[in-house]
């Protein structure tokens, strides 16, 4: 097929981001987000863009804020501890209405809390997209920039090691998205002395000749905006939930593995369904509640000690039995997803949980590669 290219996830995301209009990226090396930085450095200059090798994670995100505030589509990227360092600026972007995309190529799924709960100060949420594979990643890259601009909010794109470092064939399709108005709020430096100079400021104070609504009014407006986003931008995917007695919930790359296992078990006659939130915030709570209305069990598979399970509990408010069948899973294979991300093991854990058997403890994989 013409136009098909074999790309790893990092390169596909960079290509899609540039096609979406990204012109500024600043980053700091951290595995597995490093390849994103390398591809950005290679490709952005050829389209008239800029990639700055920042000297700290904090610098990187604030540079991206500056570029976004003068009207460019801008992004930064990191994971884990690096994402933690960026949280202050992500909160700032939410509270001063700067559109910003943050690529979080997470090592496994232990970033769920800090992506969805927000590690910074203030009443805000971070819209978070978690693609299951490269194809969805390409689409959601476009969507991330679109939603960031549409609502003037920070958006986290939550990939992982498997997405970043495995290849798939793609034609890099561009999704159809509504046309957005010009950025008449952006600072372009031309309004000085006109009496109509612009401001971007968390406290919403405005200018002496045009006072703003102040912190109280501004933060209420922003809180209301996040309610609109929660109503209109929620995404999820589900299959076989209509008559399912058991629904397994998973997100990101893990979701793809779980979906495979659920499809196999369906073929074997088990009444089992699958539910995958695509937006981790806003979490598709009502959809999950509806999808599990007749289910006896909800099983949550995630590669952490139990983070998304909190949102699952809030979604069904105690009306269904919920059990965690994932766990901390990390290895030194280079993909860092550990022994749990394996179709046979997921299958084993689903069956064990449903039959009341204890989940098998998997041996630690050790630090072999580091020795």
């Amino acid at each position: 097929m013409s136009g098909m290219r074999l790309l790893d996830g990092s390169e596909a995301i960079v290509e899609a981001a540039i096609m979406a209009g990204l012109r500024f990226y600043a980053g700091y090396p951290i595995a597995p987000a490093t390849e994103l930085l390398e591809y950005m450095a290679e490709k952005l200059p050829s389209v008239g863009g800029v990639c700055v090798n920042a000297d700290t994670e904090i610098e990187a995100v604030n540079m991206a804020l500056g570029a976004a505030q003068v009207g460019a589509r801008a992004a930064t990227g990191s994971c884990g501890q690096g994402l933690a360092l960026k949280q202050e600026a992500i909160a700032e972007a939410a509270l001063n209405e700067t559109p910003l995309v943050v690529f979080n190529m997470a090592r496994n799924q232990q970033d769920y809390f800090q992506a969805t709960r927000g590690g910074g100060w203030g009443d805000y949420h971070t819209v978070t997209y978690a693609p299951k594979d490269l194809h969805e990643a390409v689409e959601l890259t476009h969507v991330a920039f679109h939603v960031a601009d549409k609502y003037r909010v920070p958006v986290i794109f939550m990939g992982d090691n498997l997405l970043a470092r495995t290849q798939m064939g793609t034609s890099l399709p561009v999704p159809e998205l509504e046309k957005l108005p010009a950025k008449d709020w952006a600072l372009d430096g031309t309004m000085g002395g006109t009496g109509a100079s612009r401001w971007i400021w968390t406290f919403g104070g405005g200018k002496a000749n045009r006072p703003g609504v102040g912190p109280d009014g501004y933060w209420r407006q922003i809180a209301e905006k996040f309610q609109r986003i929660a109503r209109d931008e929620m995404r999820h995917e589900q299959c076989f939930c209509e008559d399912a007695e058991t629904v397994v919930v998973a997100f990101g790359s893990a979701g793809k593995f779980v979906e495979h296992v659920v499809r196999e078990l369906r073929k074997e006659g088990m009444k089992i369904g699958f539910f995958r939130p695509i937006t981790l915030w806003p979490f598709p709570a009502d959809a999950l509640d509806a999808a599990t209305r007749d289910a006896k069990n909800i099983l949550v598979f995630e590669l952490n000690a139990g983070q998304m399970i909190d949102d699952v509990r809030l979604s069904v408010e105690g009306r269904r039995r919920i059990a965690a069948i994932g766990g901390v899973s990390f290895d030194d294979s280079g993909l860092n997803l550990g022994p749990l991300l394996d179709a046979d093991i997921i299958r084993e854990r689903i069956l064990a949980q449903l039959s009341g058997q204890p989940l098998r403890q998997l041996p630690y994989t050790g630090m072999g590669a580091y020795l």
Binding site: R23, F24, A26, V50, V52, A54, D55, T56, I58, E59, A60, N62, M63, A64, L65, G66, A67, A68, Q69, V70, G71, A72, A74, E88, A89, E92, N96, L187, D188, G189, T190, M191, G192, G193, T194, G195, S197, R198, W199, I200, W201, T202, F203, G205, G206, K207, A208, N209, P211
Partner: protein
């Protein structure tokens, strides 16, 4: 050129200066304390922006300090960024809008304490931006605590017996450090403690805007500003106190100008 004699009081009281405001100020009023040097420094900066015809070609990034409230007073496209991160925000803006004058307005707490990494790396990269540090040696906005630029012996709310090098560490002479960096095009230290220093500082500010606009690299313009409230002295004694404390450590003048020969009209400040 009119020369103002500052050796003795003027023969008649100024009447026009009290009502004159640069067109980039939206209000003649501010909310800072009596005797504060910051409004004087900011007014100087705005006047120079007009002189250089950058009025409709500049963006200001304010840090966190008393001066931050001037985001409302200045008729300039502005953002008030996170504490200390101004030079990083400025970098992102300048890389996207290389023809626009991008300038940060920071204090010594914002730049030498919380934001040391940002100014150092921006200088090393030679970003073509202008960074102002209004240095009063205290966190004025929070009521007068020690910053990285408080001088030895200086009494603050958390160095009640005076800053002790052995216990509190030594002050950072940031302008001297930045002047030693290859990416810095212009580094100078001015002051607003009297009319002569204000006039001299105005000329330094001109070059601090010009060098980055010429593409020569980063300019760091430090301005010593009085903070009588943060120093616990009467407003009228601020200027004298400043030159007896900060002024003894932070010498005034140009520390670096990579293009001194390029602008002969500005030589001899």
């Amino acid at each position: 050129m009119n020369v103002i004699d500052t050796a003795r009081p003027p023969e008649r009281a100024a009447s026009r200066t009290a009502t004159f405001k640069p067109s980039l100020l939206l209000s003649e009023h501010h909310h800072l304390c009596p005797g504060c040097g910051e409004p004087v420094a900011i007014r100087l900066i705005l006047e120079v922006i007009q002189e250089l015809e950058l009025t409709q070609n500049n963006i200001c990034i304010l840090g966190h300090g008393c001066y931050g409230s001037f985001i409302m007073q200045m008729d300039v496209d502005s953002t008030l960024c996170l504490h200390g991160r101004g030079p990083a925000v400025a970098t992102g803006m300048k890389r996207i809008r290389p023809q626009t004058a991008i300038w940060t307005l920071q204090g010594d707490g914002d730049m030498t304490s919380e934001g040391l990494a940002e100014i150092m790396h921006a200088a090393a990269r030679g970003e073509n931006v202008t960074c102002f540090m209004l240095n009063n040696g205290v966190f004025g906005d929070t009521g007068g605590q020690m910053t990285a630029s408080s001088v030895i012996g200086q009494r603050t709310k958390n160095t009640l017996e005076g800053r002790d090098a052995a216990y509190h560490g030594n002050p950072i002479k940031l302008a001297e450090i930045v002047a030693s960096m290859d990416g810095a095009a212009y580094v100078a230290r001015g002051s607003v403690h009297n009319a002569a220093s204000i006039n001299a500082t105005r000329k330094l500010i001109r070059k601090a805007f010009q060098r980055p606009m010429e593409g020569q690299g980063l300019a760091l313009m430090e301005i010593l500003t009085m903070c009588p409230t943060g120093w616990f002295v009467p407003p009228g004694e601020g200027a004298e106190y400043m030159m007896e404390s900060l002024g003894k450590v932070y010498g005034l003048g140009e520390l670096k100008d990579v293009a001194a020969a390029a602008s002969p009209e500005d030589a001899g400040v």
